[in-house]
Each structure stands twice: as C-alpha cells, then as structure tokens.
C-alpha cells in the first residue's frame, strides 16, 4: 500500500511537484501518467526513498519514507527510468550483488537468482557483461533486479521506453504475471500500455495531480458528448438532412472520400444508434459501419492536460 500526502519538491528555486496526494491499495496496479517533465520521476524517487520531499509525507506499506527508509527499501522493487546498470559486471554478478544488497541470505541466493532469471528470460545472457547487452535485455535485467527478494511493492518508471514492439509485449507480459499480490505503480507516457495493464490511473501534469480514477470512470466523467460514427456507401444527402432533424443531435460532420463518413455528436445521455440505423436503411444509403466512439485514454489525457493549460491561460 502506498499513501502520498501533499508531496512537494523543489529543485533549487524550481518546483517539480506540488501537493501531490494519492493512495494505492494493496494488490492494485496503478498507472502513473503524465507528459515528460510532469513530475512522475520526482514523485517516484520520493516514494522509493531516493530523496526526501521538500514538504508533505508518504508511507509505503504503513512505514514512513523518512523514518523507516531502510525498511521501505527492503519492501520495494524499483526499476528507475533509463535503467542504470553496472556495465562492467556480468548479469549474474550484478544480480548477485543486488540480491545481497537487498538482504537475500546466502542459502537462498541460488534459488532467488534462478527465479528472477527465468521469469525475466535471462538464461541465455546470464554470463554476459551487461555493457554488451541489447536495450531489451538491459530492461529485463533492470526488471530482474527489481524482483529480487520478492518485493510487495513494485515501482516501475517507464519500463518499456525505447523498446521495439516485440520487446514491449514481452515486458508487458512479465508485468502481467507479476500483478498477483503486489502493489504496482507503473509510470509511463505511453497511454495504450497503461490502459491495458492498469485498472486505475493517476494523471499528473506540471507537477500536480489532475485526475485519479479508472479509465472507464474518467471517460464517463469527461465525455461531454457521445460520438457515433456512420459510414455509408450510397448517396447520403437525404440521410444527412434526416439526422439533423433527430432529437438530441448536437453536431454532424461529414467527410466524403469515396464513401461518406458521418461523425455525429449527441448528448451523452441518449443513444440514437437504433434511429440512425433505421434511417440509413430506410433511405437506402448502403450502411457500411455504425459504431459509438469511446474516448481513449489518450483523449482523456489530452483533454485533461489541455484543460489545465486553458485554465492557467484564463487565470
């Protein structure tokens, strides 16, 4: 369990985060979203006891980040951004060091190393020097060191950044396997990734939390209109006229590109899909597609980030 209460951090005169508060329950997988420079890494570094906050406080597994720093660090598996590793050590030697530093006893060392090496697929590169590994394998080594000593809290800062699509799928699969009984905080600016893995997201922008909820709830809260997409193959002039007269229609935009694509915005409370389908059939327009367009996490993110900027501009 992670609890942050009013975290503020200054780098000299520059404020990186302001009054950041959130709570992550035990066993929850939470996405930490924000554009580059929003304050994700700063918040994470405070939670991992890398640096203290200028103001505010946080607890991890009920322990205070300043008073119980060493005990918290024992419970946390952390993958820092850009995966800093000791390039002159072999994978095995590095993991042995990390396990020792994390308090794995000598008698458990072999089995613990075996466990993380196999779960991260590092068997083939176990005896290779880290400096000679590809980015994908470095990322896996970083993940492997985070998993040592079976931490109950996993904090992963941009775990898939710079990886190719196959490697991203691999890392995502590993994270999926880890979610049982663990609290996971996954920072990213790649939205589809977070949408796939996390049940809840925390969105941070310019050092402040702008939203905390499940992607579904955020969608319903932020969706000011429902959008229906209709694609017709036949003549659509009559259809266009007819839908304008339907109750609840707010805006219609048409795009003609061989076929006619209608983007119909309605009030969020009404579902006009049956009426629109009936009209298209009645007018003989050749209905190719009809679907409701959901706000993606990307749209939510953009909306929140833009709203923030607009509000700031207005002030």
């Amino acid at each position: 369990m992670i609890e942050a209460e009013g975290l503020t951090k200054f780098y000299g005169p520059r404020r990186a985060i302001r009054n950041v508060s959130f709570q992550i329950e035990k066993g929850e997988v939470v996405g930490f979203l924000g554009p580059n420079g929003a304050g994700k890494s700063t918040t994470i570094r405070i939670l991992t006891c890398y640096m203290p906050p200028s103001e505010g406080t946080a607890t991890v597994e009920g322990m205070h980040i300043l008073e119980d720093s060493l005990r918290i660090r024992q419970k946390i598996g952390y993958l820092p951004e850009n995966v800093p590793l000791y390039n002159d050590l072999t994978v095995n030697r590095f993991l042995r060091f990390a396990a020792g530093a994390k308090g794995v006893e000598a008698k458990r060392m072999r089995s613990e190393l075996g466990r993380v090496i196999s779960s991260c697929g590092l068997e083939k590169v176990e005896n290779r020097i880290i400096g000679h590994l590809s980015k994908g394998f470095r990322q896996r080594v970083g993940l492997a060191q985070a998993l040592l000593n079976n931490p109950s809290v996993l904090i992963l800062d941009e775990p898939t950044i710079g990886l190719d699509p196959t490697q991203i799928v691999e890392i995502r699969r590993i994270i999926e396997e880890l979610r049982e009984d663990r609290t996971i905080l996954l920072s990213s600016h790649i939205l589809p990734e977070v949408a796939q893995i996390c049940k809840r997201v925390i969105i941070i922008n310019k050092g402040e939390i702008v939203a905390t909820d499940s992607p579904a709830n955020l969608t319903s809260q932020l969706q000011k209109t429902s959008t229906i997409l209709v694609e017709l193959s036949g003549p659509s002039a009559e259809f266009a006229q007819a839908i304008e007269n339907l109750d609840g229609i707010q805006k219609v935009t048409v795009e003609n590109n061989g076929t006619s694509r209608f983007q119909i915005e309605t009030a969020p409370s009404v579902d006009l899909r049956p009426e629109i389908a009936a009209l298209a059939v009645q007018k003989g327009c050749g209905l190719l597609e009809l679907r409701a367009v959901q706000l993606s996490l990307e749209d939510i993110f953009m909306q929140l980030v833009t709203e923030e900027s607009t509000q700031e501009g207005a002030e």
Partner: protein, 259 residues
Amino acid sequence: MKGFWPVFKKELYAMFMSPIFYAVAFFFLLLSGVFFYLILRQVIMFSYQVAQNPAIAGNVTMPELFMRSFLWNISVITLFVAPLLTMRLYAEERKSGTLELLYTYPVSDLATVAAKFSACMTTYTILIAATLPGVIMLISIADSSWKPILCGYAGLLLLGSAFISLGTFASTLTKNQIISAIITFGILLVLWFIGEAKEVVSPPAVASVFAYLSVSDHLKGLVKGLLDSRDIVFYLVFTAFFLFLTLRQMSSYRWRAMV
C-alpha cells in the same frame, strides 16, 4: 552497517575487472622494483665506505637504511596511485546513474562509504604487499630486525588510508573521474609539501599548524621504525574526517536531489 559486504565485494570485483587497476599495478610494481634495485645498489656502495670508516653510519644498520629509503619512495608512488584508485568510486556511479539504484537498495549510506573505502584499501594493501617478497628476502639474508619494517609498512598503510579517504571524498564532488583524480592529487601535493612552508611562514603558530598538517612529516618517524602515537592519531583522524565529509556529501545529494 547493513549491506556492507555486497557493496564491498562488488567494488572489489569492479576494481579487479578495471584496466585502470592493472595499469596502475604494472607501473607501481615496475617503479617499486626499480627503486628497490637502485636503493639497494646505493646502500651496498655506502656499506663499502662504512666498512672502511664505521663512524659515518652512526647507529643505523644497512638494512634499516635501505628500508627507510625504499618505504619513503613507495610513499611517493602512493601519491600518484591513490587518486587513480579512488577516482571512479562515486564519480562513475553518478555519471552512469547507478547511484540511484544503490540509494534505493536497503543499504545505509555509512555502509556504502565504508565498503567503497575498504575495497580501495584492500586493493592498495595488495599492491603494498606485492613489494614484500623482495624485502623479506633481503631481511632474511641480512638477518635484520622485523619490527622497524613492520612499523614502516604500518606507516604506509596509514598514509594510504588517509590518501584514499581524501580520494573517496574528491570522487563525490564531480561526475568526471579525471577531475576527481586531479582534485585528489592537487590536495595531496599541497599537503605533502605544506611542511616545507613552515620555514617561510612568519607567525610560529601558523608554521606549527602547517607542519602538523604535512602528511609527509608524519611518515618520517614511522619509516624509521619510530612508532609515535601522534603520527598514528593524525592519520586516523585525517581518514575519519574525510570519510565523514564523504558521508555528509552523500546525504547532501539526497537532500539537494542531485543525480
């Protein structure tokens, strides 16, 4: 001191995997071998003169005379070796970002500083110990006393610990290993020659402070086999002071959020 051993072993491994260590060890052993030969040659020449006129030797035996010169020269080489051994300790961790990993492992800052210093001291002790075979052979042939030699080597280790503690601190000041080595070497040179300044500094109080701060003056007695507690305390306090500064500097990085 939670986490001392893993960091110590990692540092020692990294040291022995580093080409810098082998380059330093090569030149250290080459120079100590050359000095061994040249000093031995001079002492043998001198012993011929002593055979004709025993009064010129005073109370000093030939093996003692040899050891004084030899250990003194080793201490001068240490002046160059210490910055090269310590320069990577923190500078490299900061440059590669691995300090973030180390800081988030359950290892106390004190254990990290102690482990890095001890690993460097172990390496230095191995280098110093590598000069022993020649010395043992010589002392066995000459049938001389072991005690002054042990005292001299203890002096070299104390001097080394002072130099390495200063180097460890200098390594926290920058991300650049070369700059770290230059800072260490520069300060060590000043502290090596500061004793000479006592001749030209006018207030006697300042002159005595300069003399006390001289890292070389405190070694002179030890290489002669004179075990003076003031010299031992000087080196121990010097080491503790710079290790303390290193610890403060590392805490300060956390607070100032410097990566």
